[in-house]
């Protein structure tokens, strides 16, 4: 059948956004054109989904206070930038900046010609607990950790860094009774951590925090909180931590009535005594993954190497080393005299998963006389962005029965074999029983130096809950998705495969300090 109307016009007709004449003409055309009726029906379905699905959401209650803190910092910054005092005279910030860059460039050229550009662009410091960080005009750091005892508890601000865009506070709460099993993870909304300066100005939490917890068996809570940036001229700040934000009152009686306050002294990095770091830049590429030594710091009684990992496209490096390896095996460092430095077991540094990925690796202190180092990484883990879906029929299968699937699925070029499935039931205390479909999988086929290790799975509709077990052997791997009592089939999205990419990457860089 010949039809001169375009699909795009059917879509606009369904929207009602054609001009009135075209709208009427298309309406008249529809009666005799089955193709366009089908187009309009599909366009109306999508239109309905978009109208119902793209709706306003309420702003978080913290947004207005965050903006207020940020604009307050902006005002302070403007005041500070109006003039800088240099050798007793007031110069414009731009002039001081140009002069400083020139001095820095000349100084850098005398020690490391290859690093002139990088050194002129970035001044780096090692902030214990937070890693190697660039410092700008408005950067402030804690000059020392601060511990505040409270009964059996000790609250410690281990590090603080404010870089002009945000303030990061690394903390630790020790001395808790017992482990953490059974704790509620719902912090109070009306009592939140805040930073307060001597003038009473508050810098609100920006909502991002990570790593709060420690292990279930440990009696510590530790992590990082983000706050609004601090004005660069502050020299002291109170970190105010409502105790029940970290520990339920059921565990520490009175936690909902108590706030811990740590007064932290601040300084620009250059005045803080923190060790400097040297920009590097050497890199190696294997199997589509580039690893770069971005910076190093050989002071502070240990060696810190900032590694960046970059991939092509939308994949992201998530970890160095192979899954299940001892973390000390993730990377090795040796010097030009053949001496090796083990990765420090107590901490392998801050990780930022992104593209590029950043990780600070801590090694044992370097021996005297080393001129160059080589970082060796054997394998990395990469999360790719592939996705696919599979529908599994459930009719005729009873709870507890294991049935064969033997379905091979392509997930971004990796083969996933769904070997069998089982319907099982779980019931958590106080909740309705939930039926799960457990699907056993075979992974691990290698292609182009990449081995599929795991992936995410979730039901295509529903709340996205899923579970994964990696087991101890290939045959023990399975994932589970919730199913309803009357479901005749379930469609599962498989996405975000994590693959092990084999190197090796050998990156050589000068000591530089």
């Amino acid at each position: 059948m010949n039809c001169s109307w375009k699909d795009a016009e059917a879509q606009r007709f369904a929207e009602g956004s054609l001009d009135p004449e075209r709208q009427a003409a298309f309406d008249a055309h529809l009666e005799g054109c089955a193709v366009c009726r089908a187009r309009v029906a599909e366009a109306q379905r999508v239109e309905g989904l978009l109208r119902a699905g793209i709706t306003p959401v309420a702003a978080p209650v913290t947004l207005a206070s965050r903006v207020a803190s940020a604009t307050a910092a902006e005002r302070e910054g403007r005041r500070a930038r109006r003039g800088l005092l240099v050798f007793g005279r007031r110069f414009s910030p731009a002039l001081v900046g140009v002069a400083a860059a020139l001095v820095l460039a000349v100084a850098a050229y005398t020690v490391a010609p290859g690093a002139v550009l990088a050194l002129a662009q970035r001044v780096l410091f090692f902030v214990p607990g937070l890693g190697i960080k660039p410092a700008g005009d408005s950067t402030l750091v804690a000059t020392a950790p601060v511990s505040v005892p409270s009964g059996a508890l000790t609250f410690t601000v281990e590090a603080l860094l404010s870089d002009g865009t945000k303030t990061t506070v690394k903390f630790r709460l020790a001395g808790l009774p017992g482990g953490k099993q059974g704790w509620s993870s719902q912090p109070p909304k009306d009592r939140v951590p805040v930073l307060r300066d001597a003038a009473g100005r508050e810098y609100g939490m920006t909502g991002g925090f990570q790593g709060v917890g420690g292990s279930m068996a440990e009696n510590v809570v530790e992590g990082e909180f983000g706050f609004a940036p601090l004005p660069g001229d502050l020299r002291s700040i109170d970190v105010i931590m409502p105790l029940d934000y970290l520990v339920p009152a059921a565990v520490v009686p009175g936690a909902d009535q108590q706030s811990l306050v740590a007064q932290v002294r601040l300084a620009p990095p250059a005045e803080s005594g923190l060790p400097a770091a040297t920009p590097q830049g050497a890199q190696a590429t294997a199997n589509g993954v580039t690893l770069r030594v971005a910076a190093s710091s050989l002071e502070a009684g240990r060696t810190v190497v900032l590694v960046e990992g970059e991939t092509e496209g939308m994949a992201r490096v998530t970890m160095l080393g192979r899954p299940g390896d001892d973390s000390a095996a993730a990377a090795a460092l040796r010097d030009d005299r053949g001496r090796t430095y083990p990765l420090a077991p107590e901490g392998d540094g801050t990780t930022v998963v992104g593209n590029p990925f950043h990780k600070d690796l801590y090694f044992a202190p370097v021996a005297p006389g080393a001129g160059r180092f080589t970082l060796n990484v054997a394998a990395v883990q990469v999360m790719e962005s592939a996705a696919t879906s599979v529908t599994i029929p459930l009719e005729g299968h009873k709870a507890g029965e294991t049935f064969a699937l033997d379905r091979a699925i392509d997930l971004g070029g990796h083969q996933v074999v769904l070997t069998s499935a089982r319907l099982g039931s779980d019931q958590l205390p106080g909740q309705e029983p939930q039926t799960w479909l457990y699907v056993s999988v075979d992974l691990g086929l290698t292609a182009d130096g990449r081995t599929l290790w795991s992936f995410s799975a979730r039901r295509a509709s529903g709340d996205g809950s899923s579970m994964w077990s990696y087991g101890t052997g290939e045959g023990d791997r399975f994932f589970g998705v919730p199913v309803g009592p009357g479901d005749k089939s379930v469609t599962i999205d498989l996405h975000s495969p994590i693959v092990v990419v084999e190197g090796p990457w050998e990156v050589s860089f000068p000591a530089g300090q």
Binding site: G48, I54, L63, A64, A70, G208, M314, G464
Partner: protein, 193 residues
């Protein structure tokens, strides 16, 4: 001048009134945050972006012409903040010919849901949001402006600073792709229910 108008609040803010600027933020935070959340799909990142948009507004108050309307101006600032964020993520901003039918590469999915979605339409909204996140950034933001803000094609083009024909192409293709992604029986059934 309306004693509670945006215009008056802007003038007060220019003179240094924190209360006036806070009132502006509270008045427009829902619209700005919604745009950011629907564009990036992650509550934490959306809040960061909304904060950035208001900070850019604050920095540019002196350039705001007396008598101009605040909302379109703030809207453009928020759109630019979203576009900057999408570019930084290295998401594909435009992939016309390379887009295979039903085979778009989704970005890394983001976790997190909002209380607003905990309603009867929660599944549908979550499905649409997930589908949106599979679109290239330029397509996604065009759809968000069209459906969240109820802008005309011309207004979307103005907000994005691109020709009208480009917006028509992006929205057409985005809807075709979404139609394929959202073709599961469950989603269709919800819509028809």
């Amino acid at each position: 001048m309306d004693p509670c108008s945006d215009e008056l609040l802007v003038e007060e803010s220019k003179r240094g009134s924190r209360e006036a600027f806070t009132e502006l933020v509270q008045r427009h935070q829902g619209a700005v945050y919604s745009l950011c959340y629907r564009t990036v799909g992650n509550p934490t990142e959306a809040e960061d972006l909304a904060q950035e948009a208001f900070l850019r507004l604050y920095r540019s108050l002196d350039r705001f012409r007396r008598g101009a309307r605040l909302r379109p101006w703030l809207h453009r600032i928020a759109v630019n903040a979203c576009l900057d964020a999408l570019r930084k993520r290295k998401e594909p901003m435009l992939s016309l010919d390379g887009m295979r039918e039903g085979g778009t590469e989704p970005p890394i999915p983001h976790g997190g849901t909002l209380p607003e979605e905990a309603c009867l339409d929660r599944e549908l909204q979550a499905a649409v949001q997930q589908a949106l996140l599979q679109l290239p950034g330029d397509y996604r933001i065009a759809l968000v402006l069209r459906y969240l803000e109820d802008l005309s094609y011309r207004e979307v083009a103005d907000a994005l600073g691109v020709p009208l024909s480009t917006v028509e192409t992006r929205i057409f293709r985005a809807k075709k792709m979404l139609g394929q992604v959202l073709s599961s029986p469950t989603v269709g059934g919800k819509e028809g229910a």
